[in-house]
């Protein structure tokens, strides 16, 4: 579960420049006329935009403490995505507001805001950095190319940030006149650069990686691949419901790393079930025994053991069943849990491992409900309430497509379930 203070901390850190800025001069002067207002807007968007960009770069490393604070790295990446978008919008406004001031007196000067000038480092760096940022983020928010390409292009945002940092360092403005503001902004920038360097180090140098090899590759359905792996040295220890980043040696498949939930119980051979969803995942079945797999993890706060409440309602959508499969396999017979497991698919043809799941359910006293939307329509809170006793006192674990989860979450809240009792694992942005 996401730590309450994380959001607040992000807001405070990003808005601190505004506080310092306000203390520098009286408000009446800052907003004394159209020109002054535009100047202030320009300055504030620049400051907050750059602060957000810096903070965002702190949310790119797979630290265990970040995993804990955000209630799973998945949430950290979601925040990273959102903060990135906000930072971009603010930074786009920044030069426009400043340039517009000159339109009444000289369009040429307004235009010169966007034309790099040799000898003017601040201006040129700012223009290059922002142009780079805008162009690269087009590939994030609009047209996403092949994952490898997208990831590479995304890395260049570090360069855009560096130019932004140069701009902040050299520009003659409030940030150069106030030692407080300057120290704060440059401090954030330095931290962000340190984070980038660490990330590069992690990517290209070292990784807390558990080396494994493929033991077997199975196809439980034509859209799913099951990988069973064997450790080359010490096996990775994890809790049922957690996930790890898998990367393949680049011989059969490209060398990218993606997160997948473990489907095995921690005491069993490490296994994953991967749905055909994209460039890499559609080709996972091409692996063969002996291929190397680097397993980085474990990550994730989504485990039935993390919640004190033993009355739990698990709701899985499609491939979202994977963490639950692990949990079901790991569950002891007499641990006192009262669990209702709703496995939601379009139809029975899509369900995988359904016999094992029903068998385990019988063995361990878990009520398993295979809910097919083709038959019964989409699952909703009312249906669950009618099928589960003690609905009101349960903790809800959700894992599945984003739309399904957010819809269900809303319905559950409407049905009176407290937000703190609804837990979800995000697979994608």
């Amino acid at each position: 579960m996401k730590n309450k203070f994380v959001n607040l901390s992000i807001i405070i850190v990003s808005l601190m420049p505004v506080m310092i800025w306000l203390a520098m001069e009286s408000l009446s002067l800052r907003f004394s006329g159209v020109s002054a207002i535009l100047t202030s807007i320009g300055q504030l968007t620049g400051l907050v935009g750059m602060a957000l960009f810096s903070v965002n770069l702190l949310l790119i490393n797979r630290f265990k403490f970040l995993d804990r604070w955000f209630g799973g790295l998945g949430r950290m990446y979601i925040d990273h995505h959102r903060l990135g978008g906000i930072a971009l919008i603010l930074l786009l406004i920044h030069p426009v507001a400043l340039a517009v001031r000159f339109i009444p007196s000289s369009i040429e000067v307004a235009a010169s805001f966007f034309i790099p000038e040799s000898g003017n480092i601040a201006k040129s760096a700012g223009i290059i950095g922002l142009a780079l940022m805008a162009m690269l983020l087009y590939f994030t928010f609009y047209y996403r190319p092949r994952y490898e390409l997208w990831k590479l292009s995304h890395r260049f945002l570090g360069l855009a940030f560096f130019f932004g940092g140069l701009h902040v360092f050299f520009v003659a403005s409030d940030v150069s006149r106030s030692l407080w503001l300057r120290s704060y902004m440059l401090g954030l920038i330095v931290l962000a650069i340190a984070s980038i360097i660490y990330r590069l180090y992690q990517t290209f140098v070292v990784r807390k990686i558990h080396p494994y090899v493929v033991k077997s590759v199975n196809r439980p359905s034509d859209q799913m691949t099951e990988l069973v792996l064997e450790p080359k040295s010490a096996p990775m220890a994890y809790k049922a419901g957690q996930y790890a980043f898998l990367s393949f040696a680049g011989i059969v498949l490209p060398k990218e790393s993606h997160p997948f939930s473990m489907t095995s119980a921690p005491s069993d051979p490490l296994s994953f079930v991967i749905k055909d969803l994209g460039d890499l995942t559609s080709r996972v079945h091409e692996l063969s025994p002996g291929n190397e797999v680097a397993v980085e993890g474990p990550y994730g706060q989504f485990s039935y053991q993390n919640f004190k409440n033993k009355r739990q309602i698990w709701i899985a959508g499609g491939v979202g069943m994977t963490p639950f499969l692990s949990m079901l396999r790991a569950l002891g017979k007499d641990e006192g849990y009262q669990i209702d497991f709703y496995y939601c698919i379009k139809n029975m043809g899509e369900a995988v491992f359904i016999e094992e799941i029903q068998r385990l359910g019988d063995e361990k006293g878990v009520k398993v409900v295979a809910f097919c939307s083709d038959e019964k329509g989409r699952i909703d809170a009312d249906a669950i309430r009618s099928m589960s006793e003690g609905f009101a006192g349960a903790d809800f674990l959700l894992c599945g497509p984003l739309g399904m989860m957010s819809g269900l979450r809303r319905q559950l809240i409407k049905a009176g379930i407290k937000k703190s009792k609804i837990h979800s694992e995000e697979f994608s942005l």
């Binding site: 971009l88 369009i107 040429e108 966007f114 609009y142």
Partner: protein, 390 residues
């Protein structure tokens, strides 16, 4: 989020393309400020005849609806600029009726940031005239047009160097503002206030070195690695020349030129010295270092050579180079190492310009008389000739 980002990106790029396109179009369609008189000048020409453009007059136009300001020795009617000012109206209004030079050069913030050269250009639209200019009547157009001529522009105010002052760095550093700007360039001291507004490189680049040694700045146009000014530009320094670094200024207030290009070396003798006795020491000789007032020691004797300069077959500048100094060796070598001596005729000619022997103490009046005498004596052309004119 995706929508918001998309809309922002679209608006941003549209704006940038539009503004850059218009900006470039305007720059290349030759939209210049033109050389006609500005509306401000037109209005100013209607002032009663004999009106002098000074601070007193400017201070009468001190409101936001009628705002005159002095910037760099020029007077502007900036009323129309107030609403367009990117820095806001208040900052201009603050200086209505006053001298805003410093404020303009610092954007009125400490430590300050100068306006762009584009901003200095834009001032032209508001130009009325120079400080000190007299208006009204028929010949009302100011001496300097809206596009100040860059070539051979004499300073609108004559360079007045105070007398008896030593041109050392301490003194020079006292003249460090746009209105009173002394600068050392190549060992010479110039008073550049009158050049600032016409400087093609902008006022700020000069003001930066007011009161300082600007030799390196001038030789690099203040950039690294930089480019030197043209020979033309070096020539243009001459009208602003006060004296040599560390020179003790003579009693002559008139600015003199060290340039041989000057068509006429002033023939008027230097103003009479103070009454009393004068001892002909090297220090005394060193006070007379200009073409208009040139003393030189040759072979232990002191000569006043200013009236000879134009007749010198070797040209005036080679003599001027040694004004105020001991030119014995130079005379013996015609100024080139290993060079030949002057003819005996030339040496005899020298006698016409004799003031006295080094170390001799003479009444000032007598010195004046000898100088006047040599001035009225037509220079001999290689023949020894002496005229008795006592």
């Amino acid at each position: 989020m995706k929508k918001a980002v998309g809309i922002s990106l679209f608006i941003f790029w549209t704006f940038v393309v539009a503004i850059v396109a218009s900006g470039l179009t305007m720059r290349y369609s030759g939209k210049s400020t033109g050389s006609q008189q500005t509306p401000a000048q037109d209005a100013a020409n209607n002032l009663p005849a004999g009106t002098k453009l000074d601070l007193a007059l400017v201070s009468k136009h001190a409101s936001k609806d009628d705002c005159w300001m002095i910037v760099g020795n020029k007077v502007y009617d900036v009323t129309g600029s107030i609403s367009k000012h990117p820095g806001g109206a208040a900052l201009i209004i603050k200086y209505c009726g006053k001298d805003g030079t410093q404020a303009f050069a610092t954007k009125d913030i400490g430590p300050g940031e100068d306006h762009s050269s584009r901003a200095y250009d834009m001032l032209k639209e508001y130009y009325i005239g120079d400080v000190g200019q007299v208006f009204g009547g028929t010949s009302a157009s100011p001496a300097t047009s809206t596009k100040p001529a860059v070539s051979e522009q004499a300073p609108s105010q004559p360079v007045v160097a105070p007398t008896g002052v030593t041109l050392n760095m301490a003194e020079i550093s006292k003249h460090n503002t746009a209105k009173d700007c002394w600068m050392v360039i190549g060992g010479n001291v110039y008073s550049l206030a009158g050049s600032i507004s016409a400087h093609p490189g902008g006022a700020d680049t000069i003001i930066r070195y007011c009161g300082k040694d600007g030799t390196a700045g001038f030789a690099t146009k203040d950039k690294t690695p930089g480019r030197d000014h043209s020979g033309n530009a070096y020539d243009m320094l001459k009208p602003y020349y006060i004296g040599k670094l560390n020179q003790v200024l003579s009693s002559t207030p008139k600015p003199s030129s060290t340039s041989p290009a000057q068509p006429s070396v002033p023939a008027t003798p230097p103003a009479p010295m103070s009454a009393g006795n004068i001892t002909l020491t090297a220090a005394e000789v060193a006070k007379h270092t200009t073409a208009a007032d040139c003393w030189m020691i040759i072979g232990g004797k002191v000569y006043s050579l200013s009236s000879y300069l134009s007749a010198h077959p070797g040209g005036a500048s080679i003599i001027v180079r040694y004004c105020g100094q001991d030119g014995t060796t130079a005379f013996a070598t015609k100024g080139s190492p290993g060079g030949s001596n002057h003819s005996s005729g030339a040496s005899a000619d020298l006698a016409n310009y004799l003031i006295g022997t080094v170390g001799q103490t003479l009444p000032a009046s007598q010195i004046n008389a000898s100088i006047n005498q040599s001035a009225s004596t037509p220079p001999a052309s290689g023949e020894s000739e002496e005229e008795d004119d006592d």
